[in-house]
Subunit: 402 residues, 2 copies
C-alpha cells in the first residue's frame, strides 16, 4: 500500500502558497425521493457554485466503497493520513471529544456508568441513562482516586459516559474491555492482551476497586465499565509530512482534538462561523494551511432534518466570500463523510468535493452538488489523496523522479 | 500492493496479435482560460477523432493523484511497471539520456563541472554554465582516467553536465552525493551509505583525485561534483513479463534508454515522424508490441507555447493513418504525463488516453480530448494498468482462475 506521505516527505516545497480546507461535516446527502435533489442540491449556494465553475469537482471515498467512517477516520483521511493505517481508539476519541490534551504517556479509556446488583452482576449497562449532570458529579467523585505511580484523571462525558486517563511511564494500551456487552453477568477483568500492558491492567484493576467503593451508594450508577482502552497512535506531525504550518478553526472539541492529533495549531474558533472567519483572517499570515470545520451539516443530518441541513449548507455558503476575499492559492470544500438526513446517520456515500485553484482543469460544472461532482474532473478518489491534489495545485510538490 | 506482472506472468498467451503504443509526451493540457479548450481539444485531429469514435477513452493517472512524474516514472507506468516499485536514479537516467548502454555491473553518476578556489571551496556549482562544447572537451579529458580493477567512462552531457560510469564487479550503488548544494564549502567525500558500496566509494575517491589534477588549469571548470550515484534497478524484461517482442521507435535517447531498461529492442527511429513510421512498417513482422515516442507535445508545452503544442499534436495526428494502415489489433494513444503550456512544466493532471480495438465498448466519444476522456469508458485509472487493458483487447491474457 502506497502511503501518500512517502511522496509528500520527499517532494514537499514551500512556495508561500496558502491552502484552505472548508470541511462541512457530513456534507454528502440523499434525495428525499428517487430522482429528487439532495440537501446540497436543494440549498441555494451562489458562492459555492461560483467556486465550482472555476474549479474541479469530484467525489471523495472516505475509506473504501461501502465503509461509513466515524469522525476520526473521516478527518484523518481528509488530512491525508491513511485511515486504515492510523486507527484511533474509542477512548482516545472520547478524550479528544472533551478537549483533554492527551500526551504520549497517557492511556485513555471510555467509562460507562452501569448498575450492578448485590452479586455484582450488571443489570443495566447504561445506569438508566443518567443525566449529564449526575454523570458529572460521579466523574468528579472518581477524580479523587489516587493510585501510586500514575496520575489519574476522570472527566465527565455525556449522560452515562465518562473519560478516564492514566498518565505515567510504561503504560501499554492493549487491555481488554471490561464491558461484557450483556446483562446478568459480572463485569470482566481488565486483562492485558499483550506484553507491556500488564501495568495498565493492574492500574485499571485498582481503579475499578476504588470506584466500586466510592460509587456503592450511587445506584443506579453504582459502578462503571471500561472500554476502548488505548493510547495515542504514533501520528507524524503535519509540519513534518507536508512542510506546512497548519491552523485549525473548529468550534467543537472533537475536531480540535483530531486536528491536535496531527499537529495542527489550535486557534480560537469562537462559537459562530463569523467568528471562525475572523480568526481565519487574523491567523492568515502565520499559517500555510487552514482547516475550518462546520459541524451543523452533520448534526442536522443526524437529526433527520432535511430542511435544516439545507439551511445549514446555505449558512456555510454565505461565509465563503470571506474565504475567497483572502485569495487562497487553493480552496477545498468537502466533508469527512456523508450524513443523509433520510438515513439519520453517517453513510458511505462518496462526498462532494470541490477544488478551486488557477491550475484546475475545466470540467463543465455549473454548480456544487452530488450530480455535478459525479461528472467532475476529479472522478471518484480516495480521501487520503486529497492533500496530494491540494498541494499539487498549491505548487507545493516537486516532480517525482527525473 | 498488487503488481500487474503477477497477472501477466501467469495469464500471458501469444495469439500473434499486434499492439501499438503511440506516446505523445506531455499530451495532457489545460485551457488558457476557464471554460476554454486545451491544446489537444484545440488541435484539429480527424484521425485521432476517428479512433476515438471506434475506441474507448479515459484518463490515466501516472503515479498517484497530485503527483507530477518525471519521464522515468511516467514511461515505466505506461509500460506496466509500477513507478513506485521501480525507481530510476538520476545518474542512471542521465546515462540513458546520452544513449549509453548501461549494464548490470555499471554504476552511473551525473557529474557537474564546478569551480573551486585555492582552498578547494566551491565558488560556482555550475562552473559559470560552460558551453556544451567546452564540457565535451573536459569530459574527453576525464575519460583518460584509469583506475585498477574497473573501467571508467566519461561522456559529455549538456553544458556543465557530464556522465561518469564505473564498470566492474562488486560495485554497489549506494554512495552519497559529493555536491554540498552550497558554495563557500568544499565538495563532500563520496561516502558509502550502506555495506557493499565501499568499493564504489573508494573508486569515486580515486576518480575525483585524478580529476582534480587533470582539471586544475581549466577554471572555471576546475573540478566536478558527483550526484545521483546509482545502478540500474532490477527490472524484469518485457519479453518475460508480457511474452511479447517489443520494439521501441524513439528519436530522443532518453526514451530509447527507458525502453532499453525494460528490455525492448531499440530500432532506428531516424529523426522525423515519417522515418519513425517507416521503421514501424519495416519492423512490423518481427515484433508484437511497438512503442512510438513523440517528444514535441512535451517540449512545446515546457516552452509555454500553446499554439506550437497544438501544431505538434496535429503533426502526430497526420501520421496516424500509417499506423492504422497496418491494422494493429490494438492501438493506444496517450502520454506519460500532462505538460500544460500554461504551466510550462510536467503536471499531475490525468492524461488523455485512447484504446482502439475491435473489442472496445462504445462510450459515445466523438473526438479525442480531455473532456471526452473525462466521460470515457475507461474512467480514470492508474497508468500501470494500461498494459493489462491493451493485452486484454489484444487477446493476449487468459482468464484468471477457473
Amino acid at each position: 500500500m502506497t502511503d501518500p506521505h512517502d511522496f509528500t516527505r520527499r517532494l514537499q516545497k514551500d512556495n508561500g502558497s496558502k491552502i484552505v480546507f472548508v470541511i462541512a461535516d457530513g456534507l454528502g446527502g440523499l434525495p428525499q425521493a428517487p430522482g429528487g435533489k439532495t440537501e446540497l442540491e436543494t440549498a441555494i449556494t451562489p458562492n459555492l457554485d461560483a467556486l465550482a465553475r472555476r474549479g474541479t469537482l469530484g467525489l471523495s471515498i472516505p475509506v473504501l466503497p461501502g465503509i461509513a467512517p466515524g469522525s476520526g477516520p473521516g478527518h484523518l483521511g481528509l488530512f491525508g493520513y491513511d485511515p486504515v493505517k492510523y486507527e484511533i481508539g474509542r477512548g482516545v476519541l472520547e478524550a479528544l471529544g472533551i478537549d483533554f490534551a492527551l500526551g504520549p504517556n497517557d492511556v485513555a479509556i471510555r467509562g460507562n456508568f452501569c448498575t450492578i446488583d448485590e452479586e455484582e452482576k450488571i443489570t443495566d449497562r447504561r445506569a438508566g441513562r443518567i443525566s449529564s449532570e449526575i454523570g458529572a458529579q460521579l466523574s468528579a467523585k472518581l477524580n479523587q482516586i489516587r493510585i501510586p505511580g500514575v496520575e489519574v484523571f476522570v472527566r465527565a462525558g455525556e449522560g452515562h459516559r465518562t473519560v478516564v486517563i492514566f498518565r505515567g511511564p510504561d503504560l501499554g494500551g492493549d487491555v481488554q474491555d471490561t464491558d461484557p456487552q450483556a446483562t446478568g453477568v459480572p463485569a470482566l477483568e481488565p486483562l492485558a492482551r499483550s506484553d507491556g500492558s500488564e501495568k495498565t491492567a493492574s492500574i485499571a484493576q485498582q481503579f475499578l476497586s476504588q470506584a466500586k467503593d466510592l460509587l456503592k451508594d450511587d445506584a443506579p450508577a453504582n459502578f462503571l465499565t471500561l472500554r476502548g482502552i488505548d493510547k495515542l497512535p504514533h501520528i507524524p506531525p503535519f509540519s513534518e509530512v507536508y512542510g506546512m504550518r497548519a491552523g485549525a478553526i473548529a468550534v467543537y472539541p472533537m475536531y480540535r482534538g483530531l486536528a491536535r492529533l496531527v499537529g495542527m495549531n489550535i486557534l480560537d474558533a469562537g462559537h459562530t462561523l463569523d467568528e471562525q472567519m475572523s480568526q481565519l483572517e487574523a491567523a492568515w499570515n502565520d499559517h500555510d494551511f487552514f482547516f475550518i470545520h462546520w459541524k451543523y451539516t452533520d448534526s442536522s443530518g443526524e437529526d433527520g432534518n432535511f430542511s435544516l441541513k439545507v439551511q445549514r449548507t446555505e449558512e456555510l455558503d454565505a461565509a465563503i466570500p470571506r474565504v475567497t476575499a483572502l485569495n487562497p492559492t487553493v480552496i477545498v470544500v468537502t466533508g469527512d463523510h456523508s450524513t443523509p438526513s433520510t438515513m439519520k446517520s453517517h453513510s458511505w456515500h462518496p462526498v462532494p468535493t470541490l477544488i478551486a485553484a488557477e491550475t484546475c482543469r475545466f470540467d463543465g460544472s455549473t454548480g456544487f452538488g452530488e450530480s455535478h461532482c459525479l461528472r467532475g474532473g476529479l472522478g471518484q478518489f480516495e480521501a487520503k489523496h486529497l492533500m496530494l491534489l491540494a498541494m499539487a495545485h498549491a505548487g507545493r510538490l516537486e516532480k517525482y523522479g527525473a
